[in-house]
């Protein structure tokens, strides 16, 4: 955090320009997915605008927003959400967006997050013959975003999924079998 604060405005812009370049070069599915706070127009846009003031981190009532600490990550130092530990509950008044002065988080983009839930069918208990509905029952858009399909198995509707990560958080497996990942 302190490191970024010391950066001059100029070097900051240089940084983000290089970051954009980097982002476009890396194949999306080859890097780790980072779930960002709600209200992000696009990852590129967020990287440009977020000035790492961490007001969103301070304002989140669910303590869901933390700071990316992976040094080699593109989003190093940026606010992020680790859904497995604490997901986004998409508050109706979005205190994180209200606190964001840089414009990195905007109300008009608050409908969904930058990811979508995906089921790892090899490890999901329901796909292994067990009766488990933890993710479906946890989903705030139950039966819409996450539903039980005609085969009796959980399925994600990527059109409806907001990427909030509550399913990932409440998956009963020690390593979640449903995870928020890149939008297709």
């Amino acid at each position: 955090m302190t490191q970024t604060a010391k950066l001059s405005r100029k070097s900051f812009f240089q940084n983000f320009l290089s970051a954009i370049r980097e982002l476009s070069q890396v194949e999306a599915n080859q890097r780790n997915f980072i779930l960002l706070p709600p209200g992000v127009a696009s990852e590129e846009n967020f990287l440009q605008l977020c000035n790492e003031c961490y007001q969103c981190v301070a304002q989140c009532p669910h303590l869901a927003i933390c700071v990316c600490r992976q040094q080699d990550n593109l989003f190093y130092g940026k606010p992020m959400i680790v859904a497995h530990e604490q997901p986004c509950y998409l508050c109706s008044d979005f205190p994180c967006i209200a606190a964001c002065e840089s414009g990195a988080l905007q109300l008009e983009h608050s409908g969904s997050l930058n990811g979508v839930a995906k089921i790892d069918t090899e490890r999901c208990l329901a796909f292994n013959g067990l009766f488990c509905r933890a993710c479906v029952n946890a989903c705030p858009l139950m039966d819409e975003a996450l539903f039980i399909n005609s085969a009796g198995l959980p399925q994600v509707n990527p059109e409806k999924c907001t990427g909030c990560g509550i399913c990932e958080n409440q998956c009963s497996m020690e390593q979640p079998a449903i995870k928020i990942t890149f939008k297709a």
Partner: protein, 756 residues
């Protein structure tokens, strides 16, 4: 934890792989399956709900490392729900109680078994001497093994001489017992799970099958997937995950569904769906006072027009008509229900009205037809209903009122018949009321957690605090152990052998695969040793093994409707359970009661059977009863002051008061805390947002809890899962009970809600 993280992932993956590729396993299940990792698999039964799924316990290096579904078990065919899958983790929970403790100066102190049992025996004898046997009581559980309940029954009813011997099935199954007894004359369903795959229509009423009985639900789903014409009707005030398969869902106001069932009966008769021949041969009609004719019954139904039922219940007229036609048109129909029907002040009546539909249409006794009550607990049927673990019962469907029954039981128990009182003891609510009043001065609580599970729970803490309380439990602390004077460590599932009897009359054997943890002992032997120390040496010293107790119990079932004499340990250890009646060791068990193939039906005299393919031998002339019960609403309807109807219920991932599932991190993660479900419209009107803290209040108490704004409960209703001690829903529930079954009305009370 018993297994490392790595091991766990390995074993679960292996179990899942085995389940999907279908590895063969010898019957008996003891043969090592994964030779490379020395896992030994033992056939057993799941510890949780009343479905009775077969499990295989994987033991490695003396520890239980994995659980998998038993492919050879006809109930679940290898499938398990997520609770069962994590069952092995509970054995090694941090909260396991491993030594006896006595509360001295307000603090629990570790003591020896001798000291603990001598202390309890001395106290109980003092109370018995000073205040009579009825100052003592026993409160057991539908999760205890049949052998355990049998020992408690003998100690309290036969030796101490009090009928204050109850169990928590009073809180879940008593109304179903009352329903079956009044409609058919004998307890427990006629059909079995086999009917599921043969049914054309299901009526699921007052049940969230998908969460409370997941494997039964899975069988229904599979059946419907293969046969898309199968129709499913749901009658439930709340939208639940069970709706996944619904063709039609009626949402009655909580507690106002009796009129719908009568209206359905009326439409069925009016539109010619009734089986008039079946009615003529096999049915009589009654109301609360007298016998009726068929004509008089039709007259009674005239009041229940769809319009009237719609007005009372809030369900649209056309839906009621559609539901009745759906039931009438299907060639075969199976109805299933559980707490939504049973936990009501008119629970017995509601049970009767469901059975009425089957009797009027002749949809009973045939494959794919049954009025099938789903049991909540794994051994509520086996141990308590059959074993006689309630205050008015004796083993093997006998009642204390009947002098012949008392004599038969006293003879086998080896006690004077005068010991068994003819008057029923105190039922659950009355028992805890008496504890409050000081009429009962000592209570032995086994394998249950009444301080949290009783309705209007906080009212009954007074008695628990003041009187002498002994709690035998596998886990510590619980809400009840707080009030205990003595806690006794009980062996947990897999640390003891015994029999569980599930919903479909099937008794299944569970082996002991581990030594009990710490100093824990088997409940039945704790009771035996307590009995000996109380001075009943002659009566109790003969029991050396679980098999001794079981053999004595099944000798009492000989010639009864639940004849288990053929279900010996030798056989049960090999087979995946047997469905009674099993009159002899070469009998395969019974798929359907009251018809050909039921040994009791087969043995009826030709004269009785003449022209009859079904004979309800529990009733005079073999005729079942269609009841003309008045319709009545809940004890506490909503009003201006308390405008919401509050229901409590369960979630898939947790079980009862969390003593077990609360110790599994994976299950806690799935549903970490309690919440109150509120309809978005209601929430908006009250300014409540999702995850807000709210206060739910009834005439009995208030609870601060998180709101879950979701389109599941109907407008004007609230729902709280009741598992958590921290957010104890039973502070709010009402302790009014059904006058017939004495089962409290957990499912409906009036409440209000506001933002905290």
């Amino acid at each position: 934890m018993g297994v490392t993280r790595r091991e766990f992932i390995k074993t679960t993956a292996a179990a899942a792989a085995a389940a999907s590729i279908g590895t063969t396993l010898l019957p008996g299940g003891v043969k090592p399956l994964f030779a490379e990792n020395d896992m030994e698999w033992h056939k057993s039964v799941c510890r949780f709900c009343g479905v009775g799924c077969g499990v295989l316990i994987g033991v490695k290096n003396g520890k239980v490392a994995a659980i998998r579904g038993d492919k050879f078990n006809t109930i679940n065919k290898g499938h398990l729900c997520v609770k069962g899958f994590y069952l092995h983790k509970i054995i090694y929970a941090k909260t396991r109680l491993t030594h006896p403790m006595i509360k001295k100066n307000g603090k629990f102190e570790k003591v020896s078994w001798d000291e603990a049992l001598n202390f309890v025996a001395k106290k109980f004898n003092e109370i018995r001497k000073a205040h009579g046997p009825d100052a003592l009581a026993f409160y057991g559980s539908g999760q205890a093994e049949t052998e355990e309940t049998y020992m408690a029954n003998k100690l309290f009813k036969g030796c101490i001489g009090t009928n204050n011997m109850e169990g928590n099935p009073r809180l879940c199954m008593a109304s179903a017992v009352g329903g079956y007894l009044t409609s058919f004359g004998l307890d427990e369903p006629a059909g079995t799970y086999e009917d599921i795959e043969q049914a054309e229509m299901f009526m699921l009423i007052g049940t969230n099958t998908a969460e409370a009985h997941p494997i039964v639900f899975e069988r229904i789903v599979r059946h419907k997937m293969k046969n898309p014409n199968v129709k499913i009707l749901i009658i439930d005030p709340r939208k639940t995950p069970t709706d996944q398969v619904a063709d039609l869902h009626l949402f009655p106001k909580p507690g106002w569904d009796l009129a719908i069932l009568h209206a359905m009966a009326r439409i069925i008769i009016k539109e010619g769906y009734a089986d008039e021949q079946f009615i003529k041969d096999n049915v009589v009609f009654k109301d609360n006072k007298k016998n009726l004719t068929y004509e008089q019954y039709k007259q009674f139904l005239e009041k229940f027009t769809p319009e009237y039922a719609s007005k009372v219940s809030g369900v649209p007229v056309e839906d009621i008509v559609k539901a009745a036609r759906m039931f009438g048109q299907a060639k075969t129909a199976m109805s299933m229900w559980t707490m939504g029907i049973n936990q009501r002040t008119r629970g017995v009546w509601a049970n009767n009205l469901i059975t009425n539909l089957h009797l009027l249409t002749g949809k009973i006794g045939k494959p794919g037809c049954d009025s099938f009550s789903l049991t909540g607990q794994p051994n509520a049927c086996g141990g308590v209903r059959e074993g006689g673990g309630l205050c008015h019962l004796l083993p093997a469907h006998r009642v204390v009122k009947n002098p012949k029954h008392r004599e038969e039981v006293a003879k086998v128990w080896g006690v004077p018949v005068s010991n068994i009182q003819p008057k029923p003891g105190k039922h659950t609510v009355a028992m805890f009321e008496a504890l409050n009043k000081g009429e009962i001065k000592g209570i032995y609580i086994m394998c249950t957690n009444p301080a949290q599970s009783l309705p209007n729970a906080s009212k009954y803490w007074k008695g628990l605090k003041e009187q002498f309380v002994v709690v035998a439990e596998s886990f510590f602390p619980t809400a009840t152990t707080k009030f205990a004077d003595v806690v006794l460590p009980a062996a947990f599932w897999a640390e003891k052998e015994g029999v569980y009897g599930c919903t479909e009359r099937r008794s299944q054997y569970m082996p002991k695969v581990l030594e009990p943890m710490g100093e824990a002992r088997w409940d039945a032997f704790i009771l035996r040793d307590l009995g000996i120390r109380m001075g009943f040496k002659k009566e109790f010293e003969k029991y050396k093994t679980a098999e001794d107790i079981w053999n004595e119990y099944i000798s009492l079932t000989k010639g009864r409707d639940l004849d288990l004499s053929g279900a010996t340990y030798r056989r049960l250890k090999k087979e995946r359970g047997l469905r009674w009646p099993v009159p002899s060791e070469d009998h395969p068990g019974t798929y359907k009661r009251y018809v050909k193939g039921d040994p009791i039906f087969d043995e009826l005299s030709e004269e009785k059977k003449k022209g009859r393919w079904i004979y309800f031998y529990g009733k005079p002339e073999g005729k079942a009863v269609v009841w003309a019960r008045p319709d009545k609403g809940p004890e506490e309807p909503t009003d201006e002051e308390f405008p919401f109807a509050l229901s409590t219920g369960r979630v898939l991932e947790h079980w009862h008061t969390l003593t077990m599932t609360g110790t599994v991190p994976e299950l806690n993660r799935a549903v970490p805390k309690a919440y109150v479900e509120i309809n978005p419209e209601d929430a908006k009107a009250l300014g409540i947002a999702n995850k807000d803290q709210v206060i739910v209040e009834t005439r009995r108490g208030q609870l601060k809890i998180e709101a879950r704004v979701i389109n599941r409960p109907k407008k004007g209703t609230l729902f709280i899962p009741w598992h958590w001690e921290e957010w104890m829903a039973n502070i709010l529930t009402i302790d009014a009970f059904d006058p017939g079954s004495k089962e409290p009305e957990y499912k409906v009370c009036a409440a209000r809600i506001r933002k905290a």
